[in-house]
Symmetry: C2
Subunit: 715 residues, 2 copies
């Protein structure tokens, strides 16, 4: 069971000590004092610590932490790196609950800094005092207006609202905060820097329970502890709070930059994205996208199905918007007859009263009419969201339109999304910002936000219908019987194990001589496949260890000789265990790949994809954390691009998709039963054949299982 | 030969008449007078026409056009629709060169309006007076500051610069103009409304020769005359001026919206995009993207290869930028040893001196150091562009950084692209706008602009190496021998024609009896394919008209009977011409599709793509206007995703790509020789087999040719 700390006294302390308080203009110490004392509305007790001052700004200054009149909830440390560890030890001794270390000069600076940071971690571990930072701008509580930060920008970032922001770096986090000028607002920003102890996951968990927060925004470069993150994200999901994430590391250049910047591994972007998507986390690629979708989620919870109406006064902008909405696979709303009749009665004769609704430019100067039409559209029961492209700043006239939009929004729960497309921020822009619309910066970005909002709605509905299982990684500590794993080190042994669990494999026998191969071929029925058996040769074909389409018993005898001779020649030192003779499976249907691997961060994942030539051409794989039940397995298969091949498009026969889903669930069950031992399973290929009555039409043609005790494989 | 009008007296008139001039506040007539007389710097002669006024604002008012003291270069018409045609006839009689019709109420309003507009077109055709509009905001010459427009926004849009903008609609066009506030500038904006006579193509052609314009920006919904557009785009390319385009119609919803808005067909987005790309036109999906890339192209001409350096003071923003640059397939610059040494000497110890160059936040307060490092990076000979993410507004400190950036840009031709990522526009944003950086609105958009800039550089280099051929559509009027086209109405005839032109087809014979089929199979060698011959059955398999893998002469005799019986049963009225017996081609290599069709807008295009199951899974086609020469054909094949299959990835044999390119060129040559007759060619499939010495390894397995006289086919 993963434990999370209670951070409420860190976020809303009753007493704060500033260690390194100063009155030197421009110093970190002075900036921090000013933020907490001047720019905050902090009603608790503030204690200043500085051995070289008696008082600062009329407040008494204590020489050290020991001299403080109480053990404060939080100590903010902004002294030079050399003195930090000593100060932290004093804090721990005093009984301080939380230390926020602003100071730089730790793991980000090299070997010596890393050693200091390890010592810092030790102080947290042994004392129980939790440490935030180091190398960070501090903690910004906007809901209660408490700034435990040196940032001179704190005084300006005043818009409070329902976002909770947890980041590693500072620059991008403040970028999110500065979206307040277009109408967003945050309750809390935790910028954790090197995160020696408290991490993004701790704040996600805190925010899941914080009533001031409706949407959680995270921004990180590396994931150190997958289990904690999973547990925190599940807490957010259980609290019904969407999590929006920007994670770097989707390209080699990006991964290199992250390593040079934080010495953290970005991890596999494909795995991260799959895991995040599975948990309903909305992943974005830029900070403006993060704000757009987080704010839209904060404004309204998306339904299971999102039907979009377009509304505006510029036909060109509406056409462009329709094009982008269509290209994003969003569903255009079908307006009701009543709605169209009402619009027809209200709007000028040349207005378009279908979706898109084009009120025409003449209505810009008739706000009452514009307003009424907008309410009519938003009130249509078939409309889930109204997107309004505003292509240009028309000065006061735009402000009037913006006021009409704000008034219409007050009458409906259907989100109205005005998109201020112009670079000129006239009074109309300001009206929208003041009304907290947080208008996206461009139409493409707006459509992207709506798409992500709609996808979250779909995820939420699916998660309600089929509540997601607890990931295997989080079950690691649960008691339970672990089934004994038989030897699975060779293909026939792996297949026997799979077969016993109900996973279909070809009929076959292991033989030790050419005549035995002939007899086996004759018993099994030709054609057969003949393969070398060896736990040391995972890639049998590369050493000539496979003969396919062997048409007779005599040919099987030849194949036995050929295969054993090739392997003896090309891999003379490999231990072999005879030859596997298998009934050959016809090459019809679709070749698939099924795999399980233990990701170093998130634990076991199941991967399903198209096999054969499609592997290179389509990046057509679906990944899920284990366990995978039937609904999830069905969803994985349906999400593949090659799904059309499996279901029999363009006159091809439909394949045994049900049987394939059974196989995925069986593999998941097997791994769950043997999670401590299984490192990797490769079923490649799996042939999914045209469905034909009751016969098993899914066959695992090759299987490779790696168990933990095997050690690293050389392939 | 396509003729374009000389628009110089329209853009820079010496005399302008305003028909419908008014002094009624808020009227279109008054707004137009005010724009030309007050807000413009027009030094020519202005004549006002209004029968109900003697004078307006101290200027004499003429009762009608006939009464004018001269024939003005331009007449701006802003009277109600009912009087427009009469006024235009008067203008034509007077000898006016150009009429700009602002008035609405024509084709956009329905049947009656369309009829009026047709009459208007007739006036232009018969008189030679060229008409601009109707239903448009007018013409805005920013370079010379002449506003022939009613738009009240004209007075505000003052930033002049090297962009030339030609649009149909008004709203999106002015959106582009309003990007002036972030530092762009335009010389001319033509907003053509219904474009009854003068069209976007006329202005593209004008802008290609206008020395005030360096980059042409177009924005349109439908393409009416492909030949004129192609000719205009070629003129722009010859003048070395990039063209950037936003075209709607990429989705069904978008196409519907365009039709309802303009009654124009959007045309096939896939064809449009392919044609535009072939001509080097940079296609974008949003107006902000249009501004971003157009301005970058105006700032600097991209080289054949673009190596990007990232530079900034925020490690997090640089990591994100690197991730996006890498994901966009842009090439990161490799900094020279000298550069790194110099940065190491100048920057703080913890700065990153590799690409990305992270000067660290401490340098924000040391502008001299920041400036020097930036110059060092921009001066590296291996750097073609410097991208600078600026995540947050740091008030005056950001302004200082922005000034350093502007100063560094003055020292180098390598474009420096600062990206102001924050929503807060502090003084640093204004410094960048004033220095004409036109900073993109977000990092993703900036990376997109750089990618498009780099792609244009590659196109330009390729076009210099292999100058593009004149499209077949533009050669339509050229004299030349048109080769006689033999009958190609059946598969064997089409194949015979192709074969004579050097396109390889299987050996085969047409036979009229079962015994003849046996004899043919024995002569050709088995296995063979047996197919019905009929010009009325383009889809032979659907009526049982094909037997494959026929293994012997006797089987061929059976196949003859089976095929003819099936067809007699399923298509009893189809005229048949015997049965084709062909040597069967082994199913190795890769199945491709080659097609030619005559697009209604752009003429003949060649399409190449992956065949078989890949058709559904990959949208893997390349399209080019004919003619296609060897370099273009090679480029088409190399651009396919299935190229990896053809060249033999993952241990598969390399296929005969050269032979396939030969086939494409031969097909292009055939169509060029018979352009007036050929409507469509379908070679599906074409088997491209593993290369093997000199033998022909590319074979057209099925061929269907449609000629103009065939009339519409029922399939």
């Amino acid at each position: 069971m993963i434990e999370f700390p209670d951070l409420s006294r860190l976020v809303r302390p009753e007493s704060v000590a500033l260690i390194g308080a100063s009155d030197t203009p421009g110093s970190i110490g002075k900036l921090t004092v000013d933020n907490l004392v001047e720019a905050s509305e902090f009603r608790g007790r503030v204690h200043l610590v500085n051995p070289r001052r008696r008082e600062i700004g009329g407040r008494v200054c204590h020489p050290d932490v020991a001299a403080l009149p109480e053990a404060p909830d939080v100590a903010v440390v902004c002294i030079p790196a050399a003195g930090v560890l000593d100060a932290l030890r004093q804090c721990a001794a005093k009984g301080v609950r939380f230390a926020i270390v602003l100071t730089s000069g730790f793991s980000e600076t090299g070997e010596a800094g890393r050693a200091l940071q390890e010592e810092m971690r030790g102080i947290a571990r042994t004392s129980g005092m939790r440490i935030y930072g180091p190398n960070c701008p501090g903690l910004t509580n906007l809901a209660d207006r408490i700034g435990m930060t040196f940032s001179p920008a704190f005084a300006d970032d005043r818009t409070s609202g329902p976002l909770g922001i947890a980041t590693q770096g500072g620059g991008l986090g403040r970028n999110i905060l500065q979206s307040g000028v277009r109408g967003s607002g945050a309750a809390l920003w935790a910028s954790l820097g090197n995160a020696v102890d408290l991490d993004v996951a701790d704040f996600v968990h805190h925010m899941a329970a914080d009533p001031a927060i409706r949407v959680i925004v995270t921004l990180f470069e590396g994931i150190r502890d997958g289990a904690r993150l999973l547990a925190a994200l599940r807490a957010a999901a259980e609290a019904g709070k969407p999590v929006v994430t920007l994670k770097v590391g989707h390209s080699a250049y990006g991964e290199r930059a992250v390593q040079s910047h934080t010495a953290a591994m970005a991890g596999s972007a494909a795995v991260n994205s799959a895991v995040l998507a599975q948990l309903g986390v909305v992943e974005v690629r830029d900070t403006d996208e993060l704000v757009d979708v987080a704010w839209l989620l904060a404004r309204a919870t998306p339904p299971a199905r999102t039907r979009v109406a377009l509304f505006g006064a510029s036909g060109g902008a509406l056409s462009l918007a329709a094009d982008l909405v269509g290209s994003a696979d969003l569903e255009p709303a079908e307006l009701a007859d009543d709605t169209r009749a009402s619009l027809r009665a209200d709007l000028p004769a040349f207005a378009a009263v279908d979706n898109p609704v084009d009120t025409t430019a003449t209505t810009i100067s008739e706000p009452g009419l514009f307003d009424r039409a907008l309410r009519t559209v938003a009130g249509d029961p078939g409309v889930d969201l109204v997107l309004m492209p505003i292509p240009l700043d028309y000065a006061e006239r735009s402000a009037t339109s913006s006021r009409a939009i704000a008034a219409a929004q007050e009458q409906t729960d259907v989100p109205i999304v005005p998109v201020w497309m112009s670079d000129r921020r006239g009074p109309g822009w300001q009206v929208l910002a003041d009304a907290s619309f947080c208008s996206p910066r461009s139409l493409t970005k707006a459509v992207l936000a709506v798409r992500r909002w709609a996808e979250y709605g779909r995820w939420r509905a699916a998660a309600e219908a089929h509540p997601p299982a607890v990931p295997l990684l989080l079950r690691a500590d649960e008691p339970g019987t672990v089934a004994a794993l038989p030897a699975v080190d060779t293909e026939p042994r792996a297949k026997a194990w799979l077969s016993a669990a109900g996973v279909p494999v070809p009929d076959g026998e292991v033989v030790q001589s050419a005549p035995a191969a002939r007899a086996a071929a004759e018993r099994l029925g030709c054609p057969v496949v003949v393969k070398i058996v060896s736990s040391e040769l995972p890639h049998k074909s590369d050493v000539g260890g496979v003969a396919v389409d062997v048409g007779s018993g005599a040919a099987a005898e030849d194949a036995w000789r050929q295969v054993t001779e090739h392997v003896a020649l090309k891999a003379p030192h490999a231990a072999t265990g005879g030859v596997l003779v298998e009934r050959m499976v016809p090459a019809d249907g679709v070749e698939m790949i099924v795999g399980v691997h233990r990701d170093p961060v998130f634990g076991h994942l199941l991967t399903v994809g198209a096999g054969g030539v499609l592997v290179e051409l389509l990046d057509d794989v679906q990944r899920r954390l284990l366990p995978v039940g039937r609904p999830q397995a069905e969803e994985m298969v349906a999400a593949l691009r090659c799904h059309a091949l499996l279901t029999g498009a363009r006159g091809r026969p439909a394949c045994d998709v049900d049987g394939f889903v059974d196989l995925l669930v069986a593999v998941s069950d097997l791994v769950v039963a043997h999670a401590h031992q299984i490192e990797e399973i490769d079923l490649n290929p799996v042939r999914v054949r045209p469905a034909d009555g009751d016969e098993a039409r899914v066959v695992v043609l090759d299987a490779l299982v790696t168990v933990a005790s095997d050690g690293p494989r050389d392939c």
